[in-house]
Symmetry: C2
Subunit: 120 residues, 2 copies
DNA sequence: CACCTTCTGCAACCCTTGGTTGCGTATCAC
DNA sequence: GTGATACGCAACCAAGGGTTGCAGAAGGTG
């Protein structure tokens, strides 16, 4: 029935900036707060905060090397997030399909009763 | 490459309370702010605000009858939202697949070069 | 009609969060 | 050592999700 989703994980990917960050990390393999902020319309500090959020739900992990902190996407966790997106989408989709089917059934029922009326 | 999503639409379904509201509206057909709040852990006023948000992005529409305001899901718009969920999910999924494939290729490459070294 | 209930809308007010600026600090490179 | 660079922390602001409180419109009943 109603799909149980990890609200923290969902809202982590619910933010547009964080989605773009994930896109960047996926396409570039890894990145720092500074390097990511160069491709985003927000400051480094904002990116750093988002990285904390993403780290909290396990979507990224960091390795510190000297003064740089490289972030990478945790593939398993992102796969989990993708699965939840798919689950919710599928649930709503089946709801919509069901409503559509019912509507068509009612429509067909009307036609039938019309014909019946004519026949009577 | 990066899927273009309607950020307003996405963040509308990004909120867990709004997702539950959509679930309720889908399963019950329609509902008022008051009736929805009875099945949710928030007050009627909070629900009313969420309904404004959902209405702003076209996910719900209202019909006023007497003192009651009945809300219904706009199926076309919800279908659009579902499509965007699927798009983003698919984009990330293909990214993950690609990374996995590259990793396997590198692994295979190592094996091959090992064999090549042996042959040489 | 009057009264009471109920459903809605508006306003004020918290707290969290996404964003900024400013500053201090650690690391690298010369 | 000095300067540039990458980071972290703190203060601050605006928007959003949530609450309470209250006023008004619509329905039911004497």
């Amino acid at each position: 029935m109603s799909v149980t989703v990890d609200d923290d994980l969902w809202s982590a990917v619910g933010d547009p900036t964080r989605r773009r960050m994930l896109d960047l990390l996926l396409s570039e393999g890894s990145g720092t707060a500074t390097s990511l902020s160069e491709h985003l319309p927000v400051t480094r500090q904002a990116v750093a905060k988002h990285l904390v959020v993403l780290g909290r739900v396990g979507l990224v992990r960091a390795t510190t090397a000297g003064r740089e902190k490289q972030f990478r996407v945790d593939q398993a966790q992102l796969a989990r997030a993708v699965a939840q997106l798919a689950d919710v989408g599928a649930a709503w989709d089946s709801r919509l399909q069901r409503i559509k089917r019912i509507a068509e059934t009612i429509q067909r029922g009307k036609d039938t009763s019309d014909e019946t009326e004519k026949k009577q």
